[in-house]
Amino acid sequence: MEISTGGGPMVRLEGIHKRFGKLEVLKGVDLEIKRGEVVCVLGPSGSGKSTLLRCVNLLEPPEQGEIFVEGQDICKGPGSAAGEAGWELDFVRQRVGIVFQQFNLFPHKTALQNVTLAQEKVLGRPAAEAEAKGTALLQRVGLGEKLNEYPERLSGGQQQRVAIARALAMDPQVMLFDEVTSALDPELVKEVLDVLRELAAEGMTMMVVTHEIGFARDVASRIVFMDDGAIVEQGPPAQVLDAPREERTRKFLGLVLEH
């Protein structure tokens, strides 16, 4: 057990349980993410990795277990109202950004408006400031030319980069990425992963659910392998990918790397 420094881990999950009806999706997951760490979560579909990610910002409030963000307990026990309202929700959503598989851009807003809307409505930033920040972020993800385009006029890769800029505009401490390249045509994957690489290089704390093994190998500080609602093993990429200890990890990697 490592002694935490600098205010402890950015995110700590303890004994997270989540069920959808009769299906137990998460069966007691413990996980720590340190400041500046990039944790890639791998696993077969249905292993609960996306659900785990969505627990961190309470999109899926867990039924059991505790989540700490910057040391603050954001779900006060089972049955709490944390999923609906309360300071926990404000606290976590101001610190944790998320990017979705399906982008979920607001189709009735331009790229720039997508990035400024929450800055103005949630953070109360003046329009000029929000626009300056939004423009800078869109330029940073290579979309300086597309400020006034509507999402339907953008490619999937461009939409996803707008979605990343939109999340970054809220100055999150942690970024969650939920299979952000899975809905993209193969030739568009790289432009999105490059943005993630840059973010990681700048020291952003990231939790990345992905099927991109190559990306995970390059960028992850740690790889977490999940199966059947639990963490099977975790460690540095070299260890988990090249010398997995668990049979299930080996089997999964065999299936993914074969093709």
């Binding site: 999109l59 109202a81 944790v96 998320i98 979705f100 851009l105 809307l117 409505k121 949630v122």
Partner: protein, 248 residues
């Protein structure tokens, strides 16, 4: 044959009474626009009340659903008679409410507006609801993840998209509302149907009513075509293929 033409399409008769009928129709338009705008607003309020999240708002949701069911189930004519015949008798109400004469319109105009608004608000609430439910779940999730509360998310993200989706069906409801304003003739408001009816009983000639019907068509036919166009465009956007998040 001539008899039929004289009864329904007597052009001379129509010309003689054109101004009266037009005045009645103008009244109908005013009633439709005022009640239509209010019903659009009231329907949106109802639809949003119905979507309030959480256990605490369960009674609000229940009452809203009950309201919508009741007012969709009661004939507009009964609402008109009920409201216009009862409110003036409610002595505890101040006179400006009991016998409203706002903007130079008679009290029955406002009772008609109220009856149409409360009835059509219920219809429109259902249309809005279908639009709200047609906005993908991911939109709410994205808005909430950016820190918006439910109200901000509805207002800035969900409702603007929902309204775009249901613009055509709302316009359809507006056409129906416009036609239904003729029911206020039952409370002696000299709108187009009553004017036509009076001409009919006075001269035993229906051409005045036909003229009123034609005036309706002049307005409703273009509106109906517009609805068709909007629907076709919405479907075109959906199928033509630029990658749309909603299509996924």
């Amino acid at each position: 044959m001539q008899e039929l033409i004289d009864q329904y399409f007597d052009v001379g008769f129509m010309a003689d009474h054109f101004d009266e009928v037009l005045e009645g129709f103008w009244f109908t338009i005013q009633l439709s626009v005022v009640a239509g705008v209010l019903a659009l607003i009231w329907g949106l309020v109802l639809a949003q009340l119905r979507q309030l999240p959480g256990r605490g708002f369960a009674p609000v949701r229940f009452l809203t659903v009950a309201y919508i069911d009741v007012f969709r189930g009661v004939p507009l004519l009964i609402m008109i008679l009920l409201i216009s015949g009862s409110i003036p008798a409610l002595d505890f109400l101040p006179e400006w409410l009991r016998l409203p004469q706002w903007f130079g319109k008679p009290d029955n105009f406002w009772f008609g507006v109220l009856a149409i608004t409360v009835t059509y608000g219920a219809y429109m609430a259902e249309v809005y609801r279908s639009g709200i439910e047609a906005v993908p779940q991911g939109q709410m999730e994205a808005a909430r993840s950016l820190g918006m509360n439910h109200r901000q998310a509805m207002r800035n993200v969900i409702v603007p998209q929902a309204v775009r989706k249901v613009f055509a069906p709302l316009l359809n409801d507006f056409i129906a509302l416009m036609k239904d304003t003729t029911l206020v003739s039952a409370i002696a408001l000299s709108e187009v149907a009553l004017v036509g009816r009076d001409l009919q009983s006075q001269f035993l000639n229906s051409s005045g009513l036909v003229l009123g019907a034609i005036m309706f068509l002049v307005v409703t036919l273009p509106l109906a075509r517009l609805v068709d166009k909007l629907i076709a465009r919405e479907q075109g956007r959906f199928t033509r293929g630029a990658p749309r998040v909603e299509a996924l």
